[in-house]
């Protein structure tokens, strides 16, 4: 009997070794080809003429203004969308009202509409040929081909990220904890601050990071509304394209690498936070 191998020790969910290896290999190679290789290519191209050349390209006035503009747009749109996203998720998760299903669908609209169409819509609404746009220009307020247009376009494109992350979390948690806070004498604001917000903070953080990544990386919508005025309305992604079209490979790839680096920093930040708060995360999972 002792020489018989008992199949009973291996869990039923386990596949043969070869299958496991194959699946893992497939995933790893896909990750390598689709995700890592492009990233590596960007950095190699950026550093092709050496680090000093890459850094020099980044300090050019046009590149600098693009970086500043991109950070400015993200700094304005991300907090705005976080606030509106929280409000929208709160309304949808906590209250029943007529047209709720419609609102939920509407929140997803920016995901299904091409960003170029969104940009074009803004041009039609606020451009000099429209009534609103004409009036605004007559009163010296520029929207299209200026910062407000870029912000509006970015707001539109990044709108769903925060709300989409929060709605399922808030629905799952229900309102009992908030009600408990109210019965204990807390004001609505206090209950929100001390009970609701801590409960959604991880989903919120994740939503904000995604929103931020997209806000900095948006191309299509911004390309249409910004008018691509060099040094004025060119964000980093648009500057990258312009430099590339002008055969300035080092400059284009340096800026692209800087953009990728910003995204990597936000990812690292998220991982760091998750790692540091692992104990609290584990303790506060749904019991």
């Amino acid at each position: 009997m002792s020489d018989v191998v008992h199949p009973a020790h291996t869990p039923v969910t386990t596949e043969p070794r070869t299958v496991r290896l194959l699946v893992i290999l497939l995933v790893l190679s896909l990750v390598a080809v689709l995700l890592l290789a492009p990233l590596a290519a960007v950095f190699t191209e950026a550093l092709a003429d050496g680090l000093p050349a890459a850094l020099q390209a980044l300090t050019q006035p046009d590149a600098r203004s693009a970086i500043v503009l991109t950070l400015l747009v993200a700094a304005i749109t991300v907090p705005l969308n976080a606030a509106v996203g929280i409000a929208a998720a709160w309304a949808i998760a906590r209250f029943d009202f007529r047209g709720k299903a419609f609102v939920v669908t509407l929140i997803d609209l920016p995901f299904s509409v091409s960003p170029v169409v969104a940009g074009l819509a803004l041009v039609l609404l606020f451009g000099s040929n429209s009534t609103v746009g004409g009036w605004l220009i007559a009163h010296d307020m520029r929207i299209v081909f200026a910062l407000p247009g870029i912000i509006l376009a970015t707001l539109f494109v990044t709108f769903p990220f925060v709300a989409r992350e929060l709605i399922p979390v808030m629905l799952e948690q229900g309102r009992a904890e908030e009600e408990a806070a109210l019965t204990l004498g807390a004001s609505g604001w206090r209950a929100f601050r001390t009970v609701t917000l801590p409960n959604i903070r991880w989903a919120l953080l994740y939503g904000v990071l995604l929103c931020n990544a997209r806000a900095m990386g948006e191309f299509g919508a911004v390309a249409v509304v910004s008018g691509k005025i060099r040094g004025e309305t060119t964000t980093m992604p648009i500057m990258v394209e312009m430099l590339y079209n002008e055969y300035l490979a080092t400059a284009a790839f340096s800026l692209a690498a800087a953009l990728a680096l910003l995204a990597l920093v936000t990812l690292a930040l998220k991982s760091l936070l998750e790692w540091r708060h692992a104990d609290v995360l584990a303790a506060t999972r749904r019991h």
């Binding site: 009992a176 904890e177 009600e179 408990a180 806070a181 109210l182 019965t183 204990l184 004498g185 807390a186 004001s187 206090r190 001390t194 009970v195 801590p198 409960n199 609290v280 303790a283 506060t284 999972r285 749904r286 019991h287």
Partner: protein, 239 residues
């Protein structure tokens, strides 16, 4: 504190959760709202706690109209069905929440909050669990923490929604006794919702039998058993 409920009605859209119901709960009583699901018992409890607003009718606390009183101003200790403990706070912080939420003028000092929380932890016979998180507690411990949290605000009444619903049979028996003791020692008017007739009959001084948004009969357990006034009460209690 005694509670007078006069012709209380609650509708949710086209659905009527409570037909006009009237009830007087004497000060210091331990009352069970007993009925099957959908009988309106939880709605009635939530109206008493200020979590629902009645469509019509009045609620009086000690003769004073409390129908429109804000939930924060009711001082009703509410224990939720699944306890609704704040999962990101320790047991200590959960119990201290109501004291810390008070306006600065009437907020106790840190030392006083500390003293009160520890006294409540002693009362529920779990003196050492202050630093733990709710997810690290058993069901019975959570229920007792929820009770301590509700008692911390020095409530005028205790309202409990299916306080034993999520527990196994053995713990249930123990905690029934625990609630009885806390009620007797605090003298608080206590109303709890249950669908378990054994629980209602064993624990309560007065049982209110409800069905389809109406009160079928009110009385001490013995009276309900010996003289049920309707077929529904008779069959519901006979189960």
């Amino acid at each position: 504190m005694n509670i007078d409920i006069e012709d209380l009605t609650k509708t949710f859209g086209a659905q009527t959760a409570l037909h006009p119901v009237s009830l007087t709960i004497p000060s210091g009583a331990l009352v069970a709202l007993l009925g099957p699901s959908g009988s309106g018992k939880t709605t009635l409890l939530r109206i008493l706690g200020g979590l629902e607003i009645p469509s019509a009718g009045r609620v009086r606390f000690d003769g004073q109209d409390a129908t429109g009183l804000r939930v924060q101003d009711r001082r009703a200790g509410f224990v939720f069905q699944h306890y609704a403990l704040f999962r990101h706070m320790t047991v200590f912080e959960n119990i201290a929440y109501g004291l810390r939420a008070r306006p600065r003028r009437s907020r106790p000092t840190r030392a006083e909050i500390d003293r009160r929380v520890h006294r409540l932890l002693d009362l529920i016979q779990l003196p050492d669990i202050g630093p733990r998180y709710p997810s690290q507690l058993s069901g019975g411990q959570r229920q007792r923490v929820a009770l301590a949290r509700a008692l911390a605000i020095d409530p005028r009444m205790l309202l409990l929604d299916e306080p034993f619903g999520a527990l196994d049979a053995k713990v249930r028996k123990e905690l029934r006794q625990g609630l009885r003791e806390i009620h007797d020692s605090t003298g608080l008017t206590t109303v709890f919702v249950t669908h378990d007739q054994d629980e209602a009959m064993e624990l309560a001084d007065v049982v209110v039998v409800m069905s389809m948004g109406r009160i079928e009969q009110v009385g001490p357990p013995a009276e309900l058993r010996s003289r049920p006034t309707s077929r529904f009460v008779e069959t519901f209690l006979a189960r």
